[in-house]
Symmetry: C2
Subunit: 238 residues, 2 copies
């Protein structure tokens, strides 16, 4: 399993992904699920992946390979973020079909989805969720976040605090608390985490860091949030 | 969909169920999912149902019909709560098989699960979750609650505040807040709610009430909890 969340704010994009991959509970590994493509000042793109590792890796490898050739059509040469989302969708659909065709009755497990976030100079910052079939949806002011993977545990906090006007700092906090709830409830979502921030109209990565399992700030936040919830619980009257 | 939760505390049993049933989003109805069987001072049993309405109704009808004959083996004559759980499991398995055999390729949708809670005089208060195949698990001190239906949104609050030592009042609050998170996130879980309390060693229903959509106490709790979460969020530092 996986949990990735992207927030589209007036101030920019905040992206957070876990790194746990498992084939059964007895085969757990760490794989990066967040990938950045940056041409500073021109375009900054973050892609996050959930689902079958063979599908997500092959999809990312093909997208990445295309960028090596500056003449070729790739996410680094696409004219708009919409075109980037379409490329990811097309590549994903092709890979899914190829992998599924080899899997017969198990083809349903060859599924993956992606979050594509970014901004190209002259365009708006945009956030897309790409489905396994290659179609996609886009975040809007009404629903300024998108999730892939194990999304349920971490949704209530996002629904309560995130709006387009939310600051980057508050959005990072909301994403990390959303992840914290998910980590607690689903063993197949695990540390370390990858966090990335793109500020609006900069077309560069303002912050990118890996939060390791022994990260003191994250641990302190997790403990403080638990305590705050218990305190709030005690104060509520029914 | 459905959300039902049962809590097994030293002080007693707290049960909460929603009432929304849907066959597609354009066909939504209200059906009771909580059923009580009481012989005051002797036994008090609460059963909650989730899943295919044809399966849960037929199962409950058969269990209920058996109780009409005081000579027959029924959940009202069973010697122990374990035996009650076994009866519910057997009845459910039989009904599931019968319904599924008529449904062919759609047989997977003929599934239901139950929570069975109660106490018989001389025995302990017990809480079971009955799976569609009729097998079951039981709540213990380590995990003093069981959920059926849409369980994910409402799990984090239970994990954080419920232990066997939790009071009945706090358990009611935790169950209602757990339901509140679920109602917000899943449209197919809906008001009114049915709440029931059995205090340990009384073998009677201490409290049973329906919480209607316009219930002021529940609305006030819901608003206060949202505000408390937002306040806690603001105070957390990262």
């Amino acid at each position: 399993m996986t949990y990735c969340v992207g927030l589209l704010l007036d101030a920019g994009l905040v992206l957070l992904a876990d790194t746990r991959t498992n084939a059964g509970v007895d085969n757990i590994s760490t794989y990066r699920k967040m990938f950045t493509f940056v041409d500073e000042g021109e375009r900054a793109i973050v892609i996050m992946a959930a689902g079958s590792l063979s599908v997500t890796q092959t999809t990312m490898a093909r997208l990445d390979e295309a960028t090596a050739n500056p003449e070729a059509r790739s996410i680094m040469s696409a004219d708009t973020m919409l075109e980037v989302a379409e490329m990811v969708g097309e590549t994903l659909a092709t890979v899914t079909e190829q992998v599924a065709s080899r899997m017969g009755a198990k083809s349903q497990s060859a599924r993956a989805s992606f979050i594509v976030a970014g901004q190209r100079r002259g365009g708006a910052a945009r956030l897309f969720l790409i489905y396994p079939e290659g179609n996609f949806i886009e975040a809007t002011a009404d629903t300024p976040y998108l999730q892939i993977g194990e999304h349920k545990y971490g949704k209530p906090i996002l629904d309560r605090v995130v709006t387009p006007e939310t600051s980057i700092e508050d959005a990072k906090k909301a994403a990390l608390l959303s992840m914290d709830s998910t980590l607690r409830s689903n063993l197949s979502v695990g540390m370390p985490l990858d966090l990335c921030v793109i500020e609006t109209d900069t077309q560069r990565i303002a912050e990118q860091r890996r939060i390791e399992p022994d990260d003191e700030t994250f641990s302190a936040m997790s403990v403080a949030w638990s305590q705050a919830l218990r305190d709030a619980f005690q104060e509520i009257e029914i």
